[in-house]
């Protein structure tokens, strides 16, 4: 855990595998699949101003995800060294491709824990070098055909663990590749109480 704490503090992200077992992983996969019919494009969340829109990403939540969210509060605090409290958790669904616009998370996400709930998505590309950029500036980059969409540090979500990311501070995106079938990412967000 100490190495993970140091990495998160230094880089703004860290991969922490092996936090739960196969049974919980299977439960998350089953819940994510069952919740897909209820998923909607949410009213809230980061909104990247882009000139060419792709398909939207619907989201939903479920009771097992909520329990995991609350249960990982201590892990989130230990990783960050901050008095974090849970804000929201969601499954985000990617069908056809797994692209994510370049963005930073909202103020509800001082720390964002990410994992693959079902299917498979490509690595998230994190951009510590873009910290401090506004959403307008990130949207300009995202809309620039000359911007290298393979840029950033690729981080793959572990199957039974999380990628912890200072989501409100560190911009991130996923370049996008064909993603057949149902693929869902679970995001669990925490904010500092003080």
């Amino acid at each position: 855990m100490r190495a993970a704490q140091r990495a998160l503090a230094a880089e703004g992200f860290v991969c922490v595998p092996g936090l739960w077992g196969r049974e919980l992983a299977d439960g998350l996969a089953a819940e994510a699949s069952a919740c897909r019919p209820h998923a909607r494009i949410p009213a809230n969340g980061p909104r990247t101003p882009v000139t060419a829109r792709r398909r939207g990403t619907p989201a939903a939540n479920g009771p097992l995800l909520a329990r995991l969210h609350l249960g990982l509060t201590g892990t989130a605090r230990a990783l960050s060294g901050r008095l974090l409290v849970p804000t929201f958790a969601a499954y985000g669904y990617y069908e056809g491709d797994d692209a994510v616009y370049l963005h930073t998370d909202t103020a509800q996400c001082d720390l964002t824990l990410l994992t693959t709930a079902c299917g498979e998505v490509g690595p998230l590309h994190v951009h510590p070098e873009l910290a401090g950029r506004t959403m307008a500036e990130l949207g300009s980059l995202e809309s620039d055909p000359s911007w290298d969409r393979a840029s950033g540090t690729p981080v793959r979500y572990p199957a039974t663990g999380i990628v912890a990311l200072a989501g409100h501070r560190i911009p991130h995106h996923r370049p996008g590749r064909p993603a057949p079938g149902l693929n869902a990412v679970a995001a669990l967000c925490y904010r500092a109480l003080y």
Partner: protein, 85 residues
């Protein structure tokens, strides 16, 4: 080569176990200025016990369950494109 000495705050429990808090951890834990009153209200005592390096022990903070979940919402959010005018 590192040329500056490292300092850390060290607290100790009733059994003599040390807890070493490096400056980086303390910096991360610095509360927002607007939270000062809320923190003061949560401290059981307002006595300040001098430690070292200008720091004092201010007390133990207890966060009530309702505050733990004060920001929790079942409303989901997810990154998407902004609506264009």
């Amino acid at each position: 080569m590192c040329e500056s000495a490292t300092k850390a705050l060290v607290i100790v429990d009733a059994e003599g176990n040390y807890y070493v808090l490096p400056g980086e951890v303390i910096s991360l834990a610095k509360a927002a200025p607007e939270a000062q009153d809320a923190i003061a209200e949560r401290l059981a005592s307002h006595a300040r016990v001098p430690l070292a390096e200008g720091y004092c022990f201010a007390g133990v903070l207890t966060v009530p369950a309702e505050d733990e979940l004060a920001h929790y919402t079942p409303d989901v959010a997810w990154p998407n494109a902004a609506d264009t005018p």
